[in-house]
Structures are given as structure tokens and as C-alpha cells.
């Protein structure tokens, strides 16, 4: 995966959001406690996929990094190889002028007993020099360049999912939705009717008695979602900053 995640083609043509990703995303939103925008979700999904790359580039905590040096007997984890753990059993000088001076360690993996070789002691950036300028991109650059493709996938996949609801640019798992029943919506109607003015969801919530521990953002999303599906109301603001008015007065 990590290799193809470097390419535009992967994020444009092959990146998919699987059911298990939807579940993870729901859990993340539950922890986060607020709705997220398409862009934020795209960045979360990309970060999640690229986190082994980030860990590997950082090194430390026993994670193999090609710029570090190791000794026989050191134990290393390989985030880019699904977290495989192995022990350095041999070291030799590397042989290739392209990379300058470096060493090669032989690592025997605990699980399979198989031994594979890895580069160590490389100068920073030397792997970029070895390929082309496009052969390696930092995870942050990948997110910046390709998140628009992932946003399209997010919109398409979550739009078809029964588990997510959308209002404007924001998404919320259905299971986090606060129920605004007809009685609540009647109060909103009365408030707008009396003032004769369009009202923001935060204003409406000051008078609607909702007993729920959800965050203010989730309540506002839920109210917006409920009013958008009730023909009595019309949004005269924007999708990002909605203001609700009555259809019969508009």
C-alpha cells in the first residue's frame, strides 16, 4: 500500500472507503463529539492510512528508520511491513554509489524466521535522490495534493451510506443524531413566527428543551437536519451558516 499511496492514481482511482473504515470513522466522530466536514474526514482517512509511513520516517521507539544506525542484537519494528518485529543479526557495508555511504543490516523476523535486508545510515533525503523528484512525497504533501480526490470518494461513499447524515459540508453518524421531534419543531416555528425573523440554530436552541448530553455542534447539526426535512422551514442563510425562516412567510 505504502508504495502506491505515493501516487496520484491511487488516491484518484483506487482509494475506497470500506465498511470497516466507516465503522472506524463513526468511532472517531463519537470520540471527537462534533460533526466533521468532508475535507476533515478526507484528511482523517488519509492520515490514518499514512500513519505507518509517518512513524517509519520518525524512527525512534524501536521503529526502523533508514537514516538511523543499528547494531547486531537490536530489536526493531517495521511499521511499513504491518508492524513486523525482528532482530538485527548481521551488518555489512552497502554497495551502490547512487546512495553514497550506507550499511545493510540483516534482520530475522520473529514470526516467520525469515531474514531480510534493510538499509541503514543513509543520509537524509538520499532515497529521494535515488529515484525521481516524485518518487517520495512526505505524508503531509500527499494529503495536501490528493485530498480533493479523497473528498470526492467521501462524498460519494458516505452519501450512499445509511450510517451517515449530511447537512451542508458536515457529516454526522446517524447514531449520534439528537432527535428533534414535532413538538420541538413546533417551538421553532412559533419562535420564528413571533419574531418574524430568520433565526440561527443556536438561537432556536435557547428555547427548545432538549435533554441530551451531545455537544452544541451536534445539537445544531441535528436541528438543522430536522428542519431541512420539515417543509414548514426554509434555509435563507447558507449551508455553512444556516438561518431558518418559515416557508409560508418567505
Amino acid at each position: 500500500m505504502a508504495r502506491v499511496a505515493q501516487t496520484e492514481e491511487y488516491w484518484r482511482d483506487d482509494f475506497t472507503i470500506e465498511p470497516q473504515d466507516e465503522t472506524t470513522l463513526q468511532e472517531y466522530l463519537l470520540q471527537h463529539g462534533t460533526p466533521l466536514t468532508t475535507d476533515e474526514i478526507a484528511r482523517y482517512l488519509m492520515d490514518r492510512q499514512l500513519s505507518p509511513v509517518k512513524r517509519a520516517r520518525r524512527g525512534g521507539n524501536g521503529a526502523y528508520a533508514p537514516t538511523e544506525s543499528y547494531e547486531v542484537g537490536d530489536e526493531l519494528t517495521f511499521p511499513l511491513l504491518d508492524g513486523l518485529v525482528g532482530e538485527v543479526v548481521e551488518s555489512r557495508p552497502g554497495r551502490n554509489e547512487r546512495y553514497g555511504e550506507f550499511s545493510v543490516i540483516r534482520v530475522r523476523f520473529d514470526e516467520s524466521g525469515e531474514a531480510r535486508e534493510f538499509a541503514t545510515g543513509l543520509r537524509e533525503g538520499v532515497l529521494q535522490v535515488a529515484g525521481s523528484a516524485e518518487s517520495w512525497m512526505e505524508p503531509e504533501e500527499i494529503v495536501t495534493r490528493f485530498s480533493p480526490y479523497v473528498q470526492e470518494t467521501v462524498e460519494e461513499t458516505l452519501g450512499k451510506s445509511d450510517s451517515f447524515l449530511r447537512f451542508g459540508p458536515h457529516w454526522l453518524p446517524r447514531l449520534m443524531l439528537v432527535d428533534f421531534h414535532e413538538g420541538h419543531r413546533n417551538i421553532a416555528e412559533a419562535m420564528i413566527d413571533i419574531t418574524g425573523e430568520a433565526m440561527a440554530p443556536a438561537e432556536l436552541l435557547t428555547e427548545i428543551p432538549v435533554e441530551d448530553e451531545a455537544s452544541s455542534e451536534v445539537k445544531q447539526f441535528s436541528l438543522n437536519y430536522a428542519l431541512s426535512r420539515d417543509g414548514r422551514f426554509t434555509n435563507v442563510g447558507t449551508a455553512l451558516n444556516p438561518r431558518w425562516f418559515l416557508s409560508r412567510l418567505a
Binding site: R3, L80, R95, N96, E117, A119, W136
Partner: protein
């Protein structure tokens, strides 16, 4: 035995069996050399025979000991814009993809993706219809 079960499909993994060249008295070095652009080919002119070097996978840091011809394909040729192009004969394109992927096992579906084609069935036919070509064979489990 049901041979239908053994027949390769568009999802069967293939790879280059390097020993096939030796068994058939063929020169694999010259075939690989033919995939290099004239620019890169100059490196191996004047009797410079390929030597064994360490190729480092730029993503994982894993080291592979390869002859310098294959290493040059991985480190340089594969990034050239016309390394894979529409005018290549299909079998040559397949061979180039395997070289560029360090002989990672790939199915006709994968190969079609790498070659920018939509007909993995054609690739499967070419790989299986008239005996082994360029050492590309189904991967034995």
C-alpha cells in the same frame, strides 16, 4: 484431476522465473538491456558488464541485491515518462512492468492497471496462449 481448476485466470499471479532463461539458453541480460533508454544504456557501453549492487526500496528501505541493469531499471528507467507506453508490444510492456515492480507477483488485472489497459483477458491470453514468453509464468504457491 480437474484441469479447469488449474487454468490461470485474470486474477492468477504471475512473475518472471529467472531460471527459465538459463534452462532455455537465453540471455536475460540482453533482454533487460533492451528496455533501457539510449541515455541509460551508455552506462553499460564499452564493455562495462553489470555488477551486483544493493537496490534500496525507496518506501520501505528494504535492500535487494540485484545486477546493475535491473537496479538501473528500478532506480531510473521506471520513472522515465515513456518507459511504459502505448506503442510497446504487449509482452514487452508486461516484462517492463515486472522489472519496474521488482518482480512482485502481479495478476493480469494488476498488469492491465499498470499498462493503462482495460482488457486483462487479452493479457491473460498473451501470457498463456503460446507457451512461456520472457520467463513470465504463473506463481507456484
Amino acid at each position: 484431476m480437474n484441469f479447469k481448476l488449474l487454468r490461470p485466470t485474470t486474477n492468477t499471479l504471475f512473475h518472471i522465473d529467472w531460471s527459465w532463461f538459463e534452462r532455455n539458453g537465453l540471455d536475460v541480460q540482453s533482454l533487460i538491456r533492451n528496455q533501457l533508454s539510449p541515455n541509460l544504456l551508455r552506462k553499460f557501453a564499452d564493455g562495462h558488464s553489470p555488477e551486483e549492487v544493493d537496490y534500496i526500496d525507496p518506501t520501505t528501505g528494504e535492500v535487494f541485491r540485484l545486477d546493475s541493469l535491473r537496479e538501473t531499471i528500478l532506480a531510473e528507467s521506471r520513472w522515465e515518462p515513456d518507459y511504459i507506453n502505448n506503442s510497446l508490444p504487449l509482452m514487452q510492456g508486461v516484462f517492463r512492468v515486472f522489472l519496474a515492480e521488482n518482480n512482485r507477483p502481479l495478476s493480469p488485472v494488476d498488469l492491465a492497471h499498470h499498462l493503462g489497459r482495460r482488457d486483462p483477458e487479452t493479457i491473460l491470453r498473451v501470457l498463456t496462449a503460446s507457451g512461456v514468453q520472457n520467463g513470465v509464468v504463473p506463481l507456484r504457491k
